[in-house]
């Protein structure tokens, strides 16, 4: 069997044991996570709006994405409310989801399977809105994995900005296959 042959060949050919490094990663030194996060979102092609609480968000979404009809706000409403929309995910114009944590250094927002409601929603919608609570910000990826490590048991994704490509002559184009835009609401009393 190929499995045994491959494992045998590795045993025969592998180098002498080498230790793993004792320390993995580096502590971040960002003094203001909110400012660093906002800058990273901008660099990744997204837009960030800071709000004190969630109440103004639905109105701000309509303001930021005028003319959108097929909006599924899966943070403030139950998916049942949007049954007719969600039956045809390819027609979704705006999906609103909540991130579980976010990384200041690169603007990556972590969504667990349950945060996506359905794995395909953050990708198939024309525009994506993500809500991040300020107290879930961490400095870098090492700090993120310390917190997330045990939260992963099915599917999860880091999302940093809208879908993009530079495959035609290195010209950056926003909106390749996934969301054409990313709007992030950073929510917290002190933001």
């Amino acid at each position: 069997m190929s499995r045994e042959k491959i494992l045998e060949a590795i045993k025969k050919n592998k180098p002498a044991p080498k230790e793993l490094p004792e320390v993995i990663g580096f502590a971040s030194t960002y003094t203001n996570l909110t400012i660093t996060f906002a800058e990273s979102i901008r660099k990744a092609g997204g837009e960030l709006i800071t709000v004190q609480d969630m109440t103004s968000i639905p109105a701000r979404i309509r303001q930021a994405l005028p003319g959108m009809q097929r909006i599924a706000d899966l943070v403030n409403e139950s998916p049942d409310t949007y049954r007719h929309l969600l039956n045809d995910p390819a027609s979704l114009e705006v999906v609103v989801l909540k991130g579980r944590l976010a990384v200041a250094e690169n603007g990556a927002i972590w969504l667990h399977e349950s945060d996506c409601v359905n794995r395909v929603y953050p990708f198939i919608t024309q525009h994506l809105v993500l809500i991040v609570e300020q107290h879930t910000l961490v400095g870098n990826m090492h700090e993120a994995y310390v917190i997330m490590g045990n939260m992963m048991n099915s599917y999860g994704v880091f999302i940093a900005g809208p879908s993009k490509t530079a495959d035609i002559e290195q010209s950056l184009v926003i909106g390749a296959h996934g969301a054409r835009s990313l709007l992030v609401f950073l929510v917290g009393p002190g933001v």
Binding site: A9, G25, F26, F123, Y155, A166
Partner: protein, 460 residues
């Protein structure tokens, strides 16, 4: 879609070099990416520390690779993922086809996977009447143009936007003469949405496979891997044995390095972690050897298995930038390709380790500290010993070795050369005898050597 093996690297490069303007354009495009990488790397004070950690994690993993693969297999199986093992490209293709056949699948969407390029999976499936659509924009462009990718991260870096416009006009019905990247990308988006929505099965590559959780991580900027996987009822992920890393926390190190090294981004737009198939769907991982265990046994070259396919060594390489990816006639081009390819077939790829100036820039930018230029140099020794190098090059090297190994002979040769060149200035640069002389002129010949000058000026 296969490569032209009749031409060696230098012959293919010579053809590429005919259009000077295009060479400059290609060179500039890649240098632009290299510059973005530098900016991203220098922004992190711990960059060198990250490279050291990444290199050490990979060294450790290779030294226990069999144990980590089994740990990965166990954990993935517990999560409901089907694991398959393939000794070579043929078995890999057969396994993938058998899964498709079992589901009666006719339409496949595939995100970027250099392994499936290496195995020529598309050809294999198309011969069986299956439609395989590459969904990464660059890969779709080269697929429609019936050619292989020329770069592992930027598959269509060799194609101009006007040419993309012509390809899309022919295949997707875009306006004739259109060349605006925004317009063309949008046309591809609409075209590929239909493919995503109607595909039976999605195939992806694997960036990292985590042993302790049995999960795989796939990174894209376009979102094409996720759209394919989440809309199809079956996901097949294909990985080389070297994609394993031991623990989740190691992802922090590699994800900080990968996109910065590849395109100068802090992270790719999407870093997707697949640990369990979605309810009602099926997930398979095919683990492939295809010569990797042999490379593991070659002490001088096993480091090449640490590669995370960022493409930084291609972008920085003065030879790659001026010869183009297709001149390497191998799925992985550039410096890293030139040390992976001879392991697959020494005879076919004996030219590739010579496609380098050994300047060492590849080694400097490698995020996992592979000693790429040293390995290129070592492959040259092996290929000469094994008799895969043309006799002209071999004879020249013997003469050079004889001269350079003796100070007396070296000094004599220098004197002779200075005289000869004064009398026959074009002799050394005769293009027939010395290919390096074809586009070059020598500087003026000095009257004396440095040693002679030093002796005269400083006495003894």
């Amino acid at each position: 879609m296969t490569y032209n093996h009749h031409k060696d690297h230098s012959a293919a490069a010579a053809e590429f070099l005919v259009n000077k303007e295009r060479v400059q354009w290609h060179d500039d495009a890649l240098w632009f990416v290299r510059s973005k990488r530098d900016k991203a790397a220098f922004a992190l004070p711990e960059w060198e520390g990250l490279r050291t950690q990444a290199s050490a994690i990979k060294d450790h993993t290779l030294s226990c690779l069999d144990e980590y693969l089994q740990q990965f297999e166990q954990n993935a199986a517990r999560n409901g993922i089907h694991i398959h093992w393939a000794l070579d490209a043929q078995e890999h293709n057969d396994i993938v086809y058998s899964i498709l056949a079992r589901h009666g699948a006719r339409k496949i969407v595939k995100s970027k996977s250099m392994l499936t390029e290496e195995c020529h999976l598309n050809d294999h499936l198309e011969q069986k009447g299956i439609e395989v659509v590459d969904t990464d924009l660059g890969e779709r462009i080269v697929q429609l143009n019936d050619e292989p990718p020329s770069h592992i991260v930027l598959p269509a870096i060799h194609i101009k936007k006007e040419e993309v416009g012509a390809i899309f006009h022919k295949h997707l019905g875009t306006e004739a003469g259109a060349s605006d990247p925004q317009y063309l990308t949008n046309a591809a988006r609409e075209h590929l949405r239909q493919k995503f929505l109607t595909a039976d099965i999605a195939i992806t590559g694997v960036n990292f496979a985590v042993a302790e959780t049995g999960s795989i991580v796939v990174c894209t900027n376009e979102g094409n891997a996720d759209l394919g996987v989440h809309l199809a009822k079956v996901h097949i992920a294909c990985m080389g044995i070297e994609k394993i890393i031991p623990r989740t926390e190691h992802l922090g190190v590699f994800l900080r390095l990968l996109a910065r090294s590849a395109t100068g981004q802090a992270i790719t737009t999407y870093s997707s972690h697949f640990q369990r198939p979605a309810a009602g769907s099926e997930m398979h991982v095919v683990i492939v050897d295809n010569g990797r265990t042999t490379q593991l046994g070659r002490e001088a070259f096993r480091n090449s298995l640490k590669c995370i396919r960022c493409g930084a060594c291609l972008n920085t390489c003065p030879v790659y930038r001026r010869s183009g990816g297709h001149s390497y006639h191998n799925a992985v081009a550039g410096p890293i390709g030139a040390i992976l390819a001879p392991n697959l077939d020494m005879k076919k790829n004996a030219d590739l380790p010579f496609a380098s100036t050994l300047c060492g820039s590849c080694t400097d930018v490698c995020p996992v500290k592979i000693d790429i230029h040293d390995q290129l140099y070592q492959w040259r020794q092996v290929l000469v010993q094994e008799g895969y190098v043309a006799t002209g090059k071999k004879a020249g090297m013997k003469v050079m070795a004889a001269i350079l190994s003796s100070p007396g002979r070296f000094s004599m040769a220098g004197k002779l050369a200075r005289k000869m060149l004064k009398w026959f200035p074009r002799l050394a640069m005769n293009g027939k005898l010395n290919p390096w002389g074809r586009q070059r002129e020598l500087p003026e010949v000095p009257a004396e050597s440095f040693r002679e000058w030093y002796k005269r000026e400083h006495g003894k």
